[in-house]
Symmetry: C2
Subunit: 263 residues, 2 copies
């Protein structure tokens, strides 16, 4: 058996998220589709671990997975064979053999997520599955101030999802940056780990401040309080993309590939 | 009756092109969908003219249409009402009253098309409906030289589509420009008019030169010869987007909106 590592891209539109689900009705998840292809290729069941367990509708251009594989093939051959078996909405961008102790989730030290949000009365139809849309204008200044609130090591209990079972909600945010391209807001955030729906809740905070519903000071107080019932609702899933994962040391993860569009 | 002008955006993926088609099986075209919405709104049949009759799969972020409309509503009200009636893959970006002699196609003096082409072994799944893909690397230098061949006033008979019935194939290309974003080629071309499949044939020439199948000198000779059977095949429709149309004088048309992605 060889420990392998893949870099994956997927269009999350037609997936019920990353994680394979037990149940009477089999869900179409990226994990289930990938494990089926690997099992077919290797002739025996394969279980994969992913750096980020993305929710339904969330995209990836740099998801990383690891698994023990029976075939002792060159990595490029595994990549080509998988891309022949996988549906067109999942692609293997890179494959490599990894050291025995490499684990896509446990070995990760930082992840980069990007959220694209089109603002204003009408969204371009070509962007409707890759970017979220709000029909309002957002004021850039309070948006930038709220993005800065997220920086550093702090307890993100106010942004955790209902029913989340993780031990601690303390995370370190290394980068939290808003850029504007006309009426499109692009938010990029790097952290050592993320709670479930954390990025979408962060964007919910940006929207609430940009619309003037909550002052940045009020959001700062609510973040410190840690009561998730008082935090703005998470933004829509389809604006979110897992861009890259870092493993060696804790350098900023570099995007492995171009984003959704070149422009 | 008032003469009106709309700026339209659409995702061409699920349309059989712009033009309404007669026939037993009604095709889903942008024109048919728009005319149905306008007819429902105005209570009597409406016929629209478009600046560019885009093919199946081709997108638009700045298509312009004109029509005579029975309702004397403010333009913004027409826009909102139409966006309520149209399917999500077509949006009205702007609506305005126009002078009586304005005609979306006949009054147009220049159009800007953009073609996005991802090159290399694997395409990001999130880009598969908005950009075409070739699995090769293209050499930038011959690509740029072929793009320059298209500039100026000349006979584009070599690039015209089979069965095309237009009188003359002389067109003036005002801009023909390739930019690279990593492995993504973005080609932008402005002309006073385009033959059917002309932009896709231009991109076919860029690809043939970039792969080393045809030298730029050979393509230059074939362009002068005007024999379309010797010209490389047109590139795939779904990489093409009608970006903008110019009307006043012959200024370069300005993109009315952000492109597919902000990045």
């Amino acid at each position: 058996m060889a420990n392998m590592r893949l870099t994956l891209a997927y269009d999350g539109s037609d997936f019920e998220g990353w994680q394979a689900q037990a149940g009477a009705r089999p869900a179409r998840t990226v994990q289930a589709v990938l494990e089926a292809a690997l099992t077919r290729l290797g002739g025996q069941p394969v279980a994969v671990a992913a750096a980020g367990r993305t929710d339904a509708g969330v995209h990836a251009i740099g998801q990383v997975v690891s698994f023990e594989f029976a075939l002792e093939w060159p990595a490029e051959r595994v990549q080509r064979a998988l891309n022949g078996l996988l549906p067109p909405d999942v692609r293997v961008l890179a494959a490599a053999h990894a050291s025995a102790d490499f684990h896509a989730r446990r070995s990760a030290c930082a992840k980069l997520y990007r959220y694209e949000l089109d603002t204003g009365p009408v969204q371009l139809p070509t962007r409707r599955s890759l970017a979220a849309h709000v029909p309002w204008s957002l004021a850039p200044e309070p948006v930038a101030r709220v993005a800065a609130l997220y920086l550093g090591r702090q307890d993100f209990a106010a942004l955790r999802s209902t029913g989340s079972s993780v031990q601690t909600s303390v995370r370190t945010v290394l980068r939290s940056e808003v850029r504007w391209y006309g009426a499109t807001l692009v938010y990029e955030v790097v952290a050592d780990g993320f709670l479930r729906k954390m990025v979408r809740s962060m964007v919910g905070g940006l929207i609430a401040a940009g619309r003037g519903q909550c002052a940045p000071e009020a959001l700062s107080a609510r973040l410190a309080e840690g009561d998730r019932r008082r935090w703005p609702a998470p933004a829509a899933a389809h604006g979110l993309t897992l861009v890259a994962v870092a493993y060696d040391g804790c350098r900023e993860p570099a995007p492995p590939f171009a984003p959704h569009s070149a422009l």
